[in-house]
């Protein structure tokens, strides 16, 4: 049977138990902005892409070259998954299953989906806080050791939520970083906070100064993708993240 999601490695590289960073479009575009900044600052090359008949029929052109909008970047030690288009809700399950399978195959030691945590008073917060969710006891212990603030109760929704589950099913440790962000506007400040927290797991030594400096320009370029996210948010059940679980203790 033909695979629903195909992970295409264009370049064979030797993986050395990499850490996988996932930056897919979601609230505040935190993951996408953070992942693109990491790729740019670290000079990671594109090593592959992800395609699926469930994705929108869209290709992207950069420097005159035709590319798949869902790229895989990095080297043997760090892999960055970055999408320039919204993942449709019906693609979330097959995508996360295929990604978790592939990540297991390459022997990754940790998966870190980066996303946003919408807060109404974001405009009054000068430095967004970052919360974390681990998908196993080991992952939670690591978060506590690194003195990360845990998200202790509540719902999480979207690709990153299912990614945590699919990784757990395969005994892969995953930690999601959620930076406080604007609910419906792109948030480079939140992306900067997320990158700073990422340093606790991965010493990349990235200075976020330029990201904050160029924040307004990034917001301008990110308007259209943010608009697509806002349109798909209800179908992705993002509203549930504001709800209290019935089993709250």
């Amino acid at each position: 049977m033909e695979e629903v999601v195909r992970i295409v490695e264009e370049e064979r590289i030797e993986y050395k138990n990499p850490i996988v960073i996932e930056g897919l479009p979601d609230v505040g575009l935190v993951g996408t902005i953070a992942a693109s900044y990491i790729v740019e600052k670290m000079g990671y090359k594109e090593i592959g892409y992800i395609e699926s008949d469930l994705f929108p029929p869209v290709m992207v052109i950069h420097d005159g070259k035709l590319k798949c909008p869902f790229g895989i970047y990095g080297n043997g030690g760090v892999i960055v998954l970055l999408s320039e288009v919204v993942v449709p809700p019906n693609a979330v399950y097959p995508l996360t299953r295929a990604l978790a399978e592939w990540i297991k195959e390459i022997g990754a030691k940790l998966v870190i989906p980066i996303t946003g945590l919408p807060v109404e008073n974001r405009v009054d917060i000068s430095k967004p806080g970052v919360f974390a969710v681990g998908n196993s006891e080991e992952a939670v212990k690591e978060l506590k050791d690194k003195q990360m603030e845990l998200l202790e109760e509540g719902f999480i929704a979207g690709t990153y939520a299912i990614m945590l589950r699919e990784c757990r099913k395969r005994d892969l440790n995953a930690i999601s970083l959620l930076a406080q962000c604007f609910p419906v506007y792109p948030d480079p400040g939140a992306a900067a906070s997320a990158i700073e927290s990422l340093e606790k797991f991965l010493k990349l030594g990235i200075d976020v100064g330029e990201l904050l400096e160029k924040g307004e320009g990034i917001k301008l370029k990110a308007r259209d993708l943010m608009r697509q996210i806002n349109l798909s948010a209800p179908e992705m059940q993002k509203g549930v993240e504001q709800d209290m679980p019935i089993m709250y203790r």
């Binding site: 604007f182 609910p183 349109l231």
Partner: protein, 121 residues
């Protein structure tokens, strides 16, 4: 149908205006409208309201020129944001209030009729 139309509509115009991201929230006695206006200073924002619309025009401090993007719009320059929103309820334009912080414009538009207490017979 509405979503389909919105998806097809570009968020920029040949007149040099960009459509800003915005949000409309119902806050019981008022409608709260926010706009994301990167690259804009408070003194360059103009807001107009009627009973059922709010319109903003905001000049950017520096014009933005995207030189390599697209075919027909190559080398297009944008210098302002412009958007008109039809409000879900009638408001009192004279009582509207606005604030601007970190590129976010917040406009509070009090509804014409506030809450009415109904006695239970």
């Amino acid at each position: 149908m509405e979503i389909g139309r919105r998806m097809l509509k570009a968020t920029w115009g040949y007149d040099g205006n960009l459509e800003p991201l915005s949000e409309v929230e119902d806050k019981e006695d008022a409608i709260l409208v926010t706009f994301d206006l990167p690259g804009v200073r408070k003194e360059n924002v103009e807001i107009y309201t009627t009973e059922d619309t709010v319109e903003i025009m905001a000049k950017m401090s520096d014009a933005v020129c995207w030189e390599r993007w697209g075919g027909i719009q190559k080398r297009i320059t944008f210098q302002a944001f412009r958007k008109q929103i039809r409000l879900p309820e009638k408001i009192e334009p004279e009582k509207a209030a606005a604030s601007f912080k970190n590129g976010i414009l917040r406009i509070t538009l009090p509804k014409i009729r506030g809450k009415v207490l109904i006695n239970i017979a």
